[in-house]
Symmetry: C2
Subunit: 370 residues, 2 copies
C-alpha cells in the first residue's frame, strides 16, 4: 500500500474539525458517505483517511490526509484532482503541503537541468545569477531585440521575454524569438561571455509545442512558461515531450490558486520539471512575505526524491539597491530578476550596476543559504 | 481599437483605490511604470486603462479596466494571462466579470450543442433533465457498468463517471468506458428511452485526446471534463480539435481560482465550449449561495455573443426531496445531478423516485426561469 500525505489548513470551529476532516477524506477520494462505501477493496485501498489532526489557534488547524497512490493513475491532472479537486470548492480549505511516496516521484523526473545545469550553460559556477525582462509588450520585435542586446552585452546572464509577450501582431513569436536569439548571440561574440535568451511560450498545447519547436530550432538557451496559466498537466507534458532546454516557471495565475505558494511554486512546479522558478519577492509590489519566500526557496533547493535542485528567481519590483540584501538572504544559488527598474532611463548603465552588484556580493553572506 | 472590459473586486482603503486601480491597469498590460512607457503605439493601443471606479462599502470596491484585445493574440491562455495573470498574485483582488468585444467572441464558437443540442440527443424537449454519477472509484469496470445499467434503465437522462474516475488500475479508462456504454445501450433497448453516458476524461493533453478518441469510437453520448483541472487552454483545444459530442464541464479545481464562480463557471467555461456546467448548488455540502447560483445560471443561459445557451447542472449533495424546489428556482432548462444520495440503499427505487419527481415538477414553476 502506498499513500500520499496531503496537508490542508482548515478554518473551522474546533468542535467541528474532526467531522470536517473525515468528510474531506471522503470528498477527496470516494465522494460518498462512509456508510455508502461497502466494497472491502475500496474501503481498504482507495478511501482516503485522516492521518493527523493538529488543532491550531483562532480556529485555523492543520489536517493530514492519506490519499491512496493508486487513485492518481500516476497522472498529473488526476493527482491534482485527488489533492485538491473538490476541496478547492471549500473556501475555508487551503492545500499547504504534500509528501509524495516513491511510487509517485519515480514516475516523474523533476528538473532535467536544475541549478547545476543552468550554471553549466552559463559557465558561471560560483556567484548568484542575474536575469532581466524584455518589455513592454507592444514594442516591435526589432525594438525588443535591441533591448535584448543592450541587456546581454552589459552582462545579464538570462534575458527573458516578459510573460505578457505571446504571439501578438506587433511582435509575432517566431519573428521576435529569432531576433532576440540573434541579439544574444551577437552580444556573446562581442563580450566573450554567455547569455541565455528565454522566450515566453504561451498558448494551448498545440501552440506550445509549435513555439517550443521554433525556439529550439533557433537555439535558445532556455524558455519561460507559466504552469498555472497553460495548465499544470499541459506544462508537464510540454517539458517531457517537447523541450530539451532549461525551463523557467512563471507564477502567472498561480496566485489565483488556493495552494500555498511554497508548495505550489516551490515543490509542485519542481515535481513537474521546472528548472528555475520566478516568484514575487518580499518587500516588492506583491504580498509574499519573508517566511513564504524562504520556505519556497527551501522547497526549490532542498532534498526531494533525488530531484535536481530548482533555481529560485525572486522578482516583482526588485531594484539594484537590494542585491546585497537579497544575496545575503537567499545565498549563492539564486537568480535575481530585475525587470522594470532596469528599463527606465539609461538601461546600459543600470544593467552594469546590477551585474557589478552581484559580482561583489559578499562571499560570507553567500554561504548563508537558508 | 477593441478593448476587453474586465471588472475586479478590490479590497483596499478608499484613499488608495485610485492608485491601486492605475497600478493594476499597468500590471495587467505593460508591466512597467507609466513613466517608463514612452512608445506612442504602446501608450495608445496596448497599455491598459482604468475605465470606471465604483467605490463600495467596507473597503471593497469594483474597478473596470479596459485591456486591449490585441494583447490577447486571440489565444485562450494569453487572454487569461491578460485578465488575471499577475493580478492573481494580489490576494486582495478578485476577477468578477469580463465583457469580451466581438473580436474575441468571434474567434471562439462557445457551446457546439448547448441546451437544445443536449435535449435533441435525449429526445426530451420540455422537462428538466436528470443526471447521476458512477462511484465510488475503486469499483471494477463491471461493477460500475452494472450501476450504470441500473441508473439508465430506471430513467436517468445522463449517467456520468464520477470526476474521480480516471485511468486507474482498478477500472482502466478504455475498459470502463466500453462496459458503461454497452450498459446504456442495453438499457435504451430495454426501455425505448435514451440515456447518455459521459465518461470522465482526465490527463495531460495527449492522454485527453487519446481518451476522447476511445470514447467517441465507442459511441458515447457526452463526455465529462474539468477545465480548471486539465487547464482551460487544453480544455478549449480538446473541445475544438478532438470532441464532437456534448461536453459537461466539472468544477474540480475551479474553486481554487480567485475568479468569481458566475464568471468562471457560467461565462468563461461557456466561452471555451462547454455545453453543460456542473456546479455546487446552494444548501448542499459546499458554500455557493443562492445569489451565486442564480448568477451562474443566468450567465450560462443568457445572451452572450450569439453563443448557444449552456445547460446549468446544480449538484453537490442534492436529494430527491429538493427536486420541486430546485426546478422552481432554476426553471425548466436545468439538469439536476444527484450523486451519492441515489447510491445508498435501493438504487433502482431511489432513481425512479428522482425521475418521477422531475416529471411531475410543476409547469408553472418551470416557466419561472430566473
Amino acid at each position: 500500500m502506498s499513500w500520499i500525505t496531503a496537508t490542508y489548513r482548515i478554518r473551522a470551529p474546533r468542535a467541528q474539525l474532526d467531522d470536517f476532516a473525515r468528510g474531506l477524506a471522503l470528498e477527496q477520494s470516494v465522494e460518498l458517505s462512509d456508510a455508502a462505501v461497502t466494497d472491502a477493496f475500496v474501503r481498504e485501498r482507495v478511501m482516503g483517511r485522516v492521518a493527523a489532526i493538529r488543532p491550531g489557534a483562532a480556529d485555523v488547524h492543520d489536517v493530514d490526509l492519506h490519499l491512496a497512490t493508486v487513485t492518481t493513475g500516476l497522472d498529473v491532472a488526476q493527482t491534482l484532482n485527488m489533492l485538491f479537486g473538490n476541496a478547492s470548492l471549500h473556501p475555508n480549505v487551503a492545500l499547504v503541503d504534500v509528501v509524495f511516496p516513491p511510487e509517485v516521484t519515480a514516475a516523474f523526473q523533476g528538473p532535467r537541468f536544475g541549478i547545476a545545469g543552468v550554471r553549466a550553460r552559463l559557465g558561471v559556477a560560483d556567484r548568484p545569477l542575474s536575469c532581466a525582462a524584455l518589455k513592454p509588450q507592444g514594442l516591435s520585435s526589432e525594438a525588443l531585440a535591441a533591448l535584448c542586446y543592450t541587456l546581454a552585452v552589459n552582462g545579464v546572464d538570462v534575458v527573458k521575454d516578459d510573460h505578457g509577450l505571446a504571439d501578438q501582431a506587433y511582435a509575432p513569436f517566431a519573428e521576435r524569438a529569432a531576433a532576440c536569439q540573434r541579439a544574444v548571440t551577437r552580444a556573446a561574440q562581442d563580450t566573450g561571455r554567455g547569455c541565455l535568451y528565454a522566450p515566453s511560450l504561451v498558448g494551448a498545447p498545440a501552440a506550445l509545442a509549435a513555439q517550443a519547436r521554433i525556439a529550439q530550432d533557433l537555439g535558445v538557451g532556455a524558455v519561460l512558461v507559466a504552469p498555472a496559466l497553460v495548465g499544470m498537466p499541459a506544462f508537464a507534458e510540454l517539458v517531457t515531450n517537447h523541450l530539451d532546454v532549461p525551463v523557467l516557471a512563471h507564477p502567472a495565475m498561480a496566485g489565483a490558486v488556493r495552494i500555498a505558494p511554497p508548495l505550489l511554486l516551490g515543490k509542485l512546479f519542481r515535481w513537474l520539471g521546472a528548472d528555475a522558478v520566478i516568484f514575487p519577492n518580499f518587500g516588492g509590489r506583491f504580498s509574499f512575505d519573508e517566511t513564504a519566500c524562504a520556505a519556497l526557496a527551501a522547497n526549490a533547493r532542498g532534498a526531494m526524491a533525488g530531484y535536481r535542485p530548482m533555481l529560485p528567481v525572486p522578482a516583482g519590483g526588485l531594484a539594484v539597491e537590494r542585491v546585497a540584501e537579497l544575496v545575503a538572504f537567499y545565498g549563492r544559488d539564486v537568480m535575481l530578476l530585475i525587470g522594470g527598474a532596469l528599463l527606465a532611463g539609461d538601461v546600459a548603465a543600470r544593467t552594469r550596476a546590477f551585474v557589478a552588484a552581484l559580482e561583489r556580493a559578499p562571499a560570507a553572506a553567500c554561504a548563508a543559504t537558508p
